[in-house]
């Protein structure tokens, strides 16, 4: 009756998400790849034609790392809301896992690994397109997928904690309107945060998105980021660590009684 230890429970959870994704990937191509490219064309080239240069580079090159990081941000937020709540409330997949050796930490980590996988595909595909627009200026661009992976965990983990805490999906509109959308607008994706009034700037500094945007921009343009790179990485790790702690705790509380 000894069960052979063939696979870690975290990986088994990742596999479930990948099996589901195999059936749904076509639907995600538009939002995670086509949409960012359309964004780039419309704002980078269309709007950029009127703007000219920002911080010494053409607007398209300036906005590429912003769109890159915000693509990761969108996937991280979007895929940690309804799908997590649904696996508690409607599908009850987490309850099914709970009856097995899979623990709350495995559920959280498996989902995060899946999101890193999703984000990496989207980000790499986007980078390949951007090469043809001449949007990358340094071999350091190769580290941007890694930055986006960090960003994914630092955003998705706290959002998963939120999704596992609420009982009704109407709370997500608060998250989208009050957190996700302002983050995208004011975290240095479309314009430098120096443009923000001094009152608003700390909000950008607090956002994991801004730190990832700064790191990605430094990488694709081959220049130093606003703050020392290790500080940006540290902020992302802080978000990730706090998010993981909260998410595992929220999952445990949701499943125990």
């Amino acid at each position: 009756m000894a069960v052979t230890r063939g696979v870690h429970p975290t990986i088994a959870v990742l596999e479930r998400h990948l099996t589901l994704y195999r059936r749904l990937w076509q639907a995600s191509v538009f939002s995670s790849f086509v949409l960012p490219v359309l964004f780039l064309l419309s704002i980078g080239i269309g709007v950029g034609g009127y703007i000219g240069r920002v911080q010494g580079v053409d607007y398209l090159s300036w906005i590429v790392p912003g769109v890159l990081a915000s693509t990761a941000f969108q996937i991280a937020v979007g895929e940690s809301t309804y799908s997590v709540l649904g696996d508690f409330k409607w599908v009850r997949a987490y309850h099914a896992m709970r009856a097995t050796p899979v623990g709350p930490a495995d559920m959280v980590r498996g989902h995060l690994l899946y999101l890193v996988f999703r984000v990496t595909i989207a980000v790499v595909a986007f980078l390949v397109v951007v090469v043809f627009f001449g949007g990358l200026h340094s071999p350091w661009a190769l580290v941007t997928p890694l930055v986006c992976a960090f960003l994914t965990v630092s955003v998705a983990a706290p959002v998963m904690a939120f999704a596992a805490t609420i009982d009704h999906d109407s709370y997500f509109s608060l998250l989208f309107r009050l957190v996700a959308l302002p983050s995208t607008l004011f975290a240095g994706v479309f314009f430098p945060v120096e443009q923000l009034t001094a009152v608003l700037r700390p909000l950008a500094y607090a956002s994991p998105l801004w730190h990832a945007v700064e790191l990605c921009r430094a990488a694709t343009l081959g220049r130093a980021p606003a703050w020392p790179a290790l500080v940006h990485v540290g902020c992302l790790l802080l978000w990730a660590a706090a998010g993981l702690f909260l998410a595992v705790r929220a999952f445990r509380r949701k499943l125990e009684d």
Binding site: A12, T19, V91, R92, R98, A99
Partner: protein, 311 residues
Amino acid sequence: MADQPLIYARGLVKRFGEFTAVDGIDLDVAPGEAFGFLGPNGAGKSSTMRMIGCVSTPTTGELRILGMDAVHDGPRIRARLGVCPQLDNLDPDLTVRENLVTYARYFGLSRAESRRRADELLEFVQLGDRAGGKVEPLSGGMKRRLTIARAMVNDPDLVLLDEPTTGLDPQARHLLWERLFRLKQRGTTLVLTTHYMDEAEQLCDRLVVMDGGRIVAEGSPRSLIETYSTAEVVEVRFPGMPEAGPRFAAALEGVGKRVDPLPDRVLVYVDDGDAALAEIHRRGLEPSSVLVRRSTLEDVFLHLTGRTLVD
């Protein structure tokens, strides 16, 4: 291990705030046994099952499953359990086969082993021809069979079934019982909750009746009937019921061991139905209809837990 009970509970209590769902129960379930929890809604059956399944922590009391402590060895115990929950939680977006393979991986089975087990179990629950199909269009009975197959995927030492046939039509129930009986024959230890008396009689070697979080009776279906009921029951109806009911009930006093007046008929618990019937006629009573039947677990159940609706 051999002489150790698979489930050992002493003074098991589960409270939710002020509400006591399980109020100090003792259990011993031996390997190979088919053990049932019988009781009305809210009796504490499911709460007990969830503690045995190590997904709910006992408030107080001792609980050992497979010789391990339920609170501290949860993952190790769950690795050797099969659970068929009351609410289906199959993955609707995965195929029938993927549901089993995915679940097998949660137990750490290799990919090849997971696939082999999935195919074998789909044959066992007669869903082989639906392997590549979605879960959503399956009937309630098929979904439940799939859930039972899923519970078997790790070749468990102990299978927990929480109301396995609730909501199924008679054909589906009989097919399921037949499959569960096969499991039992193979020596798998089954623990199930039910409020169907026929299910308990069909499947359980031994059962406990729970009411209000406590165990009110324990034994084999046969011994429970012998202890808490009589061999036969005479059901008599009279013209003019329900108004005339109490009068007839009084007139039947002494015919058997106990008289249970219902709105539409009077039940007389007796050892010999025909002798009782003769006595009824001798007393000059003229029922409009008479039914003599064997006592069932349902009589025991209603005697022990009362006829008042719980929910």
